[in-house]
Amino acid sequence: MRMTLALVFVSLAACVDESGSTDTEEVTTEIRINPRTDGTEPGYVNGVLCTQVFPGALTPQTQMYLIWAVGTNGIVNAPYNTPRRPNLYAVFGTGTPLFETHHVAGQDQFDHYHVLEVPGNSHDVDNTTWDVLALFPGPNFNAATYRSAKSVRQLMAQSAAGILSPVMTLPEAGFPEIVLRTPVTCPRDGDHALPDAAL
Protein backbone atom coordinates (compact mmCIF):
# COMPACT_ATOMS: atom_id res chain seq x y z
CA MET A 1 0.00 0.00 0.00
CA ARG A 2 1.39 3.31 -0.92
CA MET A 3 1.84 5.49 2.08
CA THR A 4 1.35 9.09 1.28
CA LEU A 5 1.22 11.72 3.90
CA ALA A 6 -0.55 14.76 2.64
CA LEU A 7 0.24 17.90 4.52
CA VAL A 8 -2.08 20.72 3.72
CA PHE A 9 -1.33 24.05 5.16
CA VAL A 10 -3.96 26.70 5.18
CA SER A 11 -3.08 30.10 6.37
CA LEU A 12 -5.62 32.75 7.01
CA ALA A 13 -4.24 36.21 6.65
CA ALA A 14 -6.28 38.99 8.11
CA CYS A 15 -5.92 42.28 6.31
CA VAL A 16 -7.22 45.59 7.54
CA ASP A 17 -7.98 48.29 5.00
CA GLU A 18 -8.15 52.02 5.61
CA SER A 19 -11.80 51.86 6.62
CA GLY A 20 -10.96 49.49 9.37
CA SER A 21 -12.90 46.63 7.91
CA THR A 22 -11.37 43.21 7.96
CA ASP A 23 -10.92 41.12 4.90
CA THR A 24 -9.89 37.52 5.02
CA GLU A 25 -7.73 35.89 2.39
CA GLU A 26 -7.20 32.19 2.17
CA VAL A 27 -3.86 30.91 1.00
CA THR A 28 -3.35 27.24 0.56
CA THR A 29 -0.08 25.46 0.14
CA GLU A 30 -0.11 21.73 -0.38
CA ILE A 31 2.97 19.62 -0.33
CA ARG A 32 2.70 15.89 -0.25
CA ILE A 33 5.41 13.91 1.48
CA ASN A 34 5.80 10.23 0.91
CA PRO A 35 7.85 9.03 3.88
CA ARG A 36 8.97 5.97 1.93
CA THR A 37 10.48 7.90 -0.92
CA ASP A 38 11.00 11.52 0.09
CA GLY A 39 13.66 12.95 2.33
CA THR A 40 13.05 15.83 4.70
CA GLU A 41 15.33 18.19 6.58
CA PRO A 42 14.70 21.06 8.97
CA GLY A 43 15.15 24.67 7.92
CA TYR A 44 14.32 27.98 9.54
CA VAL A 45 11.97 30.40 7.81
CA ASN A 46 11.45 33.72 9.56
CA GLY A 47 11.66 32.24 13.03
CA VAL A 48 9.81 29.04 12.34
CA LEU A 49 11.40 25.63 12.02
CA CYS A 50 9.98 24.34 8.77
CA THR A 51 10.51 21.22 6.71
CA GLN A 52 12.43 21.06 3.48
CA VAL A 53 11.26 18.25 1.24
CA PHE A 54 13.47 16.35 -1.18
CA PRO A 55 11.08 14.29 -3.33
CA GLY A 56 12.57 10.95 -4.26
CA ALA A 57 15.63 11.36 -2.04
CA LEU A 58 15.10 7.93 -0.53
CA THR A 59 14.95 6.21 -3.91
CA PRO A 60 17.83 4.88 -6.01
CA GLN A 61 17.01 7.51 -8.61
CA THR A 62 17.93 10.38 -6.35
CA GLN A 63 20.55 12.86 -7.41
CA MET A 64 23.48 13.33 -5.08
CA TYR A 65 25.20 16.54 -4.18
CA LEU A 66 28.41 15.56 -2.40
CA ILE A 67 27.13 13.35 0.42
CA TRP A 68 23.55 14.57 0.28
CA ALA A 69 20.63 12.89 -1.46
CA VAL A 70 18.68 15.80 -2.86
CA GLY A 71 15.88 13.98 -4.65
CA THR A 72 15.24 12.96 -8.20
CA ASN A 73 15.10 16.56 -9.41
CA GLY A 74 16.99 18.26 -6.62
CA ILE A 75 19.70 19.78 -8.77
CA VAL A 76 18.43 22.62 -10.93
CA ASN A 77 20.21 23.27 -14.19
CA ALA A 78 20.46 27.03 -13.83
CA PRO A 79 23.16 29.63 -13.20
CA TYR A 80 24.28 29.70 -9.57
CA ASN A 81 24.04 32.66 -7.21
CA THR A 82 21.86 34.94 -9.22
CA PRO A 83 20.43 38.02 -7.52
CA ARG A 84 16.75 37.27 -8.04
CA ARG A 85 16.72 33.73 -6.72
CA PRO A 86 16.25 33.41 -2.93
CA ASN A 87 19.10 32.00 -0.89
CA LEU A 88 19.30 28.95 1.27
CA TYR A 89 22.01 29.44 3.86
CA ALA A 90 23.83 26.42 5.27
CA VAL A 91 25.65 27.10 8.53
CA PHE A 92 28.46 24.68 9.30
CA GLY A 93 30.58 23.95 12.33
CA THR A 94 28.37 25.39 15.03
CA GLY A 95 27.41 22.14 16.76
CA THR A 96 23.70 22.87 16.88
CA PRO A 97 21.24 20.29 18.29
CA LEU A 98 20.16 17.43 16.09
CA PHE A 99 16.54 18.55 15.78
CA GLU A 100 17.61 21.53 13.71
CA THR A 101 20.62 19.95 12.05
CA HIS A 102 21.02 18.36 8.65
CA HIS A 103 23.02 15.32 9.64
CA VAL A 104 24.16 12.35 7.61
CA ALA A 105 25.13 9.25 9.56
CA GLY A 106 28.87 8.90 9.76
CA GLN A 107 29.47 12.34 8.29
CA ASP A 108 29.48 14.60 11.31
CA GLN A 109 31.95 16.93 9.65
CA PHE A 110 29.25 18.08 7.26
CA ASP A 111 26.61 18.81 9.90
CA HIS A 112 24.87 22.09 9.31
CA TYR A 113 21.58 23.89 9.76
CA HIS A 114 19.50 25.81 7.23
CA VAL A 115 18.04 29.27 7.06
CA LEU A 116 15.85 30.10 4.08
CA GLU A 117 15.22 33.49 2.58
CA VAL A 118 11.52 34.26 2.37
CA PRO A 119 10.31 37.84 1.97
CA GLY A 120 8.71 39.61 4.89
CA ASN A 121 7.82 37.52 7.88
CA SER A 122 5.89 35.01 5.87
CA HIS A 123 5.90 31.31 6.55
CA ASP A 124 4.14 30.50 3.33
CA VAL A 125 6.96 29.39 1.13
CA ASP A 126 6.03 29.37 -2.50
CA ASN A 127 9.58 29.32 -3.77
CA THR A 128 11.14 25.93 -4.47
CA THR A 129 14.54 26.71 -5.99
CA TRP A 130 17.40 28.20 -4.03
CA ASP A 131 20.96 29.39 -4.37
CA VAL A 132 22.90 27.66 -1.63
CA LEU A 133 25.41 29.70 0.34
CA ALA A 134 27.50 28.82 3.37
CA LEU A 135 28.60 30.33 6.66
CA PHE A 136 30.99 29.15 9.33
CA PRO A 137 31.88 30.28 12.84
CA GLY A 138 33.55 33.66 13.05
CA PRO A 139 36.08 35.21 15.43
CA ASN A 140 33.47 35.88 18.11
CA PHE A 141 31.89 32.45 17.96
CA ASN A 142 31.44 30.76 21.33
CA ALA A 143 30.26 27.19 21.11
CA ALA A 144 29.08 27.23 24.70
CA THR A 145 26.68 30.11 24.17
CA TYR A 146 25.85 29.89 20.49
CA ARG A 147 22.22 29.70 19.46
CA SER A 148 21.23 29.07 15.87
CA ALA A 149 20.00 31.93 13.73
CA LYS A 150 16.34 31.41 12.99
CA SER A 151 15.90 33.97 10.28
CA VAL A 152 18.02 35.64 7.64
CA ARG A 153 17.95 38.79 9.71
CA GLN A 154 19.43 36.97 12.68
CA LEU A 155 21.91 35.24 10.43
CA MET A 156 23.20 38.49 9.00
CA ALA A 157 23.37 40.02 12.46
CA GLN A 158 25.47 37.11 13.70
CA SER A 159 27.71 37.44 10.68
CA ALA A 160 28.08 41.19 11.15
CA ALA A 161 28.93 40.63 14.80
CA GLY A 162 31.66 38.15 13.94
CA ILE A 163 29.80 35.29 15.56
CA LEU A 164 29.61 33.78 12.11
CA SER A 165 31.82 34.27 9.10
CA PRO A 166 30.86 36.36 6.10
CA VAL A 167 28.57 34.61 3.65
CA MET A 168 30.55 32.32 1.40
CA THR A 169 29.73 30.86 -1.99
CA LEU A 170 30.04 27.12 -2.28
CA PRO A 171 33.11 27.22 -4.54
CA GLU A 172 34.81 29.40 -1.95
CA ALA A 173 34.43 26.48 0.46
CA GLY A 174 35.59 23.98 -2.15
CA PHE A 175 32.16 22.71 -3.08
CA PRO A 176 30.67 22.78 -6.55
CA GLU A 177 27.93 25.24 -7.29
CA ILE A 178 24.35 24.12 -6.86
CA VAL A 179 20.92 25.56 -7.38
CA LEU A 180 18.79 23.37 -5.17
CA ARG A 181 15.18 22.42 -5.65
CA THR A 182 13.41 21.79 -2.37
CA PRO A 183 9.82 22.68 -1.53
CA VAL A 184 9.32 23.89 2.03
CA THR A 185 6.40 23.42 4.36
CA CYS A 186 5.96 25.32 7.59
CA PRO A 187 3.75 24.61 10.60
CA ARG A 188 0.29 26.06 10.33
CA ASP A 189 0.01 29.60 11.63
CA GLY A 190 3.65 29.56 12.59
CA ASP A 191 2.98 27.62 15.76
CA HIS A 192 6.61 27.76 16.71
CA ALA A 193 7.30 31.29 15.59
CA LEU A 194 9.56 33.53 17.59
CA PRO A 195 8.47 37.00 18.60
CA ASP A 196 9.09 39.41 15.78
CA ALA A 197 11.67 41.30 17.80
CA ALA A 198 13.78 38.18 17.95
CA LEU A 199 13.96 37.77 14.18
Binding site: Q109, F110, A143, E172, F175
Partner: protein
Protein backbone atom coordinates in the same frame (compact mmCIF):
# COMPACT_ATOMS: atom_id res chain seq x y z
CA UNK B 1 59.90 4.87 16.84
CA UNK B 2 57.88 2.11 18.38
CA UNK B 3 57.32 -0.91 16.24
CA UNK B 4 53.79 -1.56 15.11
CA UNK B 5 52.86 2.05 14.67
CA UNK B 6 53.34 2.75 11.04
CA UNK B 7 53.55 6.36 10.16
CA UNK B 8 52.34 7.32 6.74
CA UNK B 9 54.04 10.57 6.24
CA UNK B 10 56.83 12.69 5.56
CA UNK B 11 60.36 13.43 6.08
CA UNK B 12 62.72 15.16 3.87
CA UNK B 13 65.81 13.37 3.09
CA UNK B 14 67.87 11.74 0.46
CA UNK B 15 67.22 12.54 -3.11
CA UNK B 16 69.08 11.90 -6.26
CA UNK B 17 67.82 14.69 -8.41
CA UNK B 18 68.06 14.56 -12.12
CA UNK B 19 67.82 10.95 -13.23
CA UNK B 20 64.13 10.22 -13.39
CA UNK B 21 62.88 6.80 -14.35
CA UNK B 22 59.41 5.34 -14.45
CA UNK B 23 59.01 5.17 -10.69
CA UNK B 24 56.73 7.64 -9.08
CA UNK B 25 54.03 8.34 -6.60
CA UNK B 26 50.31 8.35 -7.21
CA UNK B 27 47.44 9.55 -5.14
CA UNK B 28 44.54 11.90 -5.00
CA UNK B 29 43.90 15.42 -3.87
CA UNK B 30 41.13 16.08 -1.40
CA UNK B 31 39.45 19.34 -0.63
CA UNK B 32 39.64 19.94 3.11
CA UNK B 33 36.32 21.01 4.50
CA UNK B 34 36.49 20.04 8.15
CA UNK B 35 40.00 20.85 9.21
CA UNK B 36 39.95 18.24 11.94
CA UNK B 37 40.01 15.48 9.41
CA UNK B 38 41.86 15.92 6.16
CA UNK B 39 41.02 12.49 4.81
CA UNK B 40 37.28 12.92 4.40
CA UNK B 41 36.73 13.82 0.79
CA UNK B 42 33.30 14.53 -0.55
CA UNK B 43 32.45 13.33 -4.02
CA UNK B 44 32.38 15.76 -6.92
CA UNK B 45 34.62 18.31 -5.27
CA UNK B 46 36.24 20.97 -7.39
CA UNK B 47 39.56 19.18 -7.31
CA UNK B 48 40.60 18.85 -10.96
CA UNK B 49 43.37 20.72 -12.72
CA UNK B 50 45.53 21.40 -9.69
CA UNK B 51 49.26 21.41 -10.25
CA UNK B 52 51.28 18.73 -8.50
CA UNK B 53 55.04 19.18 -8.40
CA UNK B 54 57.51 16.70 -7.02
CA UNK B 55 59.86 19.19 -5.46
CA UNK B 56 63.11 17.27 -5.50
CA UNK B 57 63.05 16.11 -9.10
CA UNK B 58 60.96 18.92 -10.51
CA UNK B 59 58.49 16.65 -12.26
CA UNK B 60 55.00 18.07 -12.50
CA UNK B 61 51.53 17.03 -13.44
CA UNK B 62 47.95 18.11 -12.83
CA UNK B 63 45.13 16.38 -11.05
CA UNK B 64 42.40 14.79 -13.10
CA UNK B 65 38.73 15.59 -12.59
CA UNK B 66 38.58 13.28 -9.57
CA UNK B 67 41.74 14.69 -8.04
CA UNK B 68 43.90 11.76 -9.05
CA UNK B 69 47.52 12.24 -10.00
CA UNK B 70 50.70 10.34 -10.69
CA UNK B 71 54.09 11.98 -10.78
CA UNK B 72 57.56 10.64 -11.38
CA UNK B 73 60.26 10.81 -8.75
CA UNK B 74 64.02 10.74 -9.14
CA UNK B 75 65.57 7.34 -9.59
CA UNK B 76 66.54 5.86 -6.28
CA UNK B 77 64.75 8.40 -4.16
CA UNK B 78 63.23 6.98 -1.01
CA UNK B 79 61.19 10.02 -0.18
CA UNK B 80 59.42 12.71 -2.11
CA UNK B 81 57.86 16.05 -1.44
CA UNK B 82 54.75 17.09 -3.32
CA UNK B 83 53.73 20.71 -3.73
CA UNK B 84 50.10 21.01 -4.75
CA UNK B 85 48.04 23.93 -6.07
CA UNK B 86 50.90 26.37 -6.41
CA UNK B 87 49.22 27.78 -9.50
CA UNK B 88 45.94 28.67 -7.82
CA UNK B 89 45.21 31.77 -5.78
CA UNK B 90 41.91 30.31 -4.59
CA UNK B 91 43.70 27.37 -3.00
CA UNK B 92 46.45 27.41 -0.42
CA UNK B 93 49.65 25.68 -1.43
CA UNK B 94 49.94 22.25 0.11
CA UNK B 95 53.15 20.38 0.90
CA UNK B 96 53.03 16.66 1.47
CA UNK B 97 55.98 14.50 2.34
CA UNK B 98 55.84 10.97 1.06
CA UNK B 99 57.55 7.75 1.93
CA UNK B 100 58.02 6.39 -1.54
CA UNK B 101 57.90 2.69 -0.72
CA UNK B 102 54.20 1.78 -0.68
CA UNK B 103 52.87 4.92 -2.24
CA UNK B 104 50.14 4.40 -4.72
CA UNK B 105 47.50 6.34 -2.84
CA UNK B 106 49.02 9.47 -1.42
CA UNK B 107 46.48 11.79 0.12
CA UNK B 108 47.06 15.41 -0.84
CA UNK B 109 44.80 17.70 1.21
CA UNK B 110 43.99 21.08 -0.32
CA UNK B 111 41.98 23.87 1.27
CA UNK B 112 40.43 26.90 -0.34
CA UNK B 113 41.93 30.25 0.49
CA UNK B 114 38.61 31.57 1.72
CA UNK B 115 37.91 28.67 4.04
CA UNK B 116 41.45 28.70 5.39
CA UNK B 117 41.12 32.40 6.13
CA UNK B 118 37.81 31.69 7.82
CA UNK B 119 39.46 29.14 10.10
CA UNK B 120 42.36 31.45 10.92
CA UNK B 121 40.00 34.29 11.72
CA UNK B 122 37.83 32.14 13.93
CA UNK B 123 40.88 30.78 15.74
CA UNK B 124 42.40 34.24 16.15
CA UNK B 125 45.52 33.27 14.28
CA UNK B 126 47.38 35.82 12.22
CA UNK B 127 48.22 34.72 8.70
CA UNK B 128 51.92 35.41 8.23
CA UNK B 129 52.81 34.75 4.59
CA UNK B 130 56.53 34.61 5.36
CA UNK B 131 56.11 31.60 7.61
CA UNK B 132 54.62 28.14 7.22
CA UNK B 133 51.85 26.16 8.83
CA UNK B 134 52.17 22.51 9.79
CA UNK B 135 48.96 20.54 10.21
CA UNK B 136 49.17 17.17 11.92
CA UNK B 137 46.11 14.93 11.82
CA UNK B 138 45.87 11.74 13.76
CA UNK B 139 43.70 8.95 12.54
CA UNK B 140 42.04 7.32 15.49
CA UNK B 141 44.76 5.70 17.53
CA UNK B 142 42.79 3.63 20.02
CA UNK B 143 44.20 3.93 23.48
CA UNK B 144 46.74 6.56 22.50
CA UNK B 145 46.28 10.18 23.51
CA UNK B 146 48.58 12.94 22.40
CA UNK B 147 50.65 14.31 25.23
CA UNK B 148 52.42 17.04 23.33
CA UNK B 149 53.61 18.28 19.96
CA UNK B 150 56.72 20.23 19.17
CA UNK B 151 57.25 21.95 15.85
CA UNK B 152 60.58 23.72 15.68
CA UNK B 153 60.24 27.47 15.84
CA UNK B 154 56.44 27.56 15.71
CA UNK B 155 54.92 30.65 17.29
CA UNK B 156 51.61 28.98 18.11
CA UNK B 157 50.48 25.39 18.42
CA UNK B 158 46.78 24.61 18.71
CA UNK B 159 45.19 21.30 19.60
CA UNK B 160 41.72 20.44 18.39
CA UNK B 161 39.29 19.79 21.20
CA UNK B 162 36.77 17.74 19.28
CA UNK B 163 34.51 20.31 17.62
CA UNK B 164 35.65 21.76 14.33
CA UNK B 165 36.18 25.29 15.60
CA UNK B 166 37.38 24.59 19.12
CA UNK B 167 41.15 24.59 19.40
CA UNK B 168 43.30 25.32 22.43
CA UNK B 169 46.95 25.51 23.32
CA UNK B 170 46.83 22.35 25.41
CA UNK B 171 45.85 18.82 24.38
CA UNK B 172 42.34 17.80 25.35
CA UNK B 173 41.67 15.26 28.06
CA UNK B 174 40.84 12.60 25.54
CA UNK B 175 42.08 12.07 22.03
CA UNK B 176 43.43 14.83 19.85
CA UNK B 177 42.24 14.53 16.26
CA UNK B 178 44.49 17.28 14.89
CA UNK B 179 47.16 19.80 15.76
CA UNK B 180 48.19 22.94 13.91
CA UNK B 181 51.46 24.80 14.26
CA UNK B 182 51.57 28.36 12.96
CA UNK B 183 54.42 30.75 12.33
CA UNK B 184 56.89 28.01 11.47
CA UNK B 185 60.22 29.38 10.16
CA UNK B 186 61.00 28.35 6.61
CA UNK B 187 64.65 29.28 6.18
CA UNK B 188 65.97 25.71 6.27
CA UNK B 189 63.17 24.29 4.17
CA UNK B 190 62.28 21.79 6.85
CA UNK B 191 60.94 21.82 10.38
CA UNK B 192 61.42 19.16 13.01
CA UNK B 193 58.16 17.72 14.29
CA UNK B 194 57.93 15.65 17.42
CA UNK B 195 54.68 14.10 18.55
CA UNK B 196 54.57 12.14 21.77
CA UNK B 197 51.77 10.35 23.52
CA UNK B 198 50.70 10.87 27.08
CA UNK B 199 52.69 7.78 27.96
CA UNK B 200 55.78 9.23 26.26
CA UNK B 201 55.50 7.06 23.21
CA UNK B 202 57.02 8.71 20.18
CA UNK B 203 54.27 8.94 17.58
CA UNK B 204 56.35 10.89 15.10
CA UNK B 205 59.76 12.42 15.11
CA UNK B 206 61.35 13.84 12.00
CA UNK B 207 61.65 16.73 9.61
CA UNK B 208 58.81 17.88 7.42
CA UNK B 209 59.03 20.17 4.41
CA UNK B 210 57.99 23.77 4.90
CA UNK B 211 57.57 26.73 2.59
CA UNK B 212 56.48 30.29 3.16
CA UNK B 213 52.72 30.61 2.88
CA UNK B 214 52.21 26.89 2.44
CA UNK B 215 50.50 24.33 4.63
CA UNK B 216 52.37 21.11 5.31
CA UNK B 217 49.96 18.27 5.89
CA UNK B 218 51.15 15.43 8.07
CA UNK B 219 49.01 12.42 8.84
CA UNK B 220 49.74 9.89 11.52
CA UNK B 221 47.88 6.64 11.25
CA UNK B 222 48.19 2.99 12.06
Amino acid sequence: MRGGLSIAIVALGASAAGCVDRSGVAGHACIVFDIRNTALCGAKQDIGGLSVVEVMGGERTTTDADGGFSVAIPDGATRAVLRVAEDRTDRRISLIGVDVAPTDDVLAPVITTTLWTTYLTALHVEDKPTTATVHVSLSPLPGIAVGGVEVAGASTILYNQGEAFIWNEQPPGDQTPAVMAFGVPVESGTAMVNVISRTDEVLYNGPVPVQAGAITWVRIQR
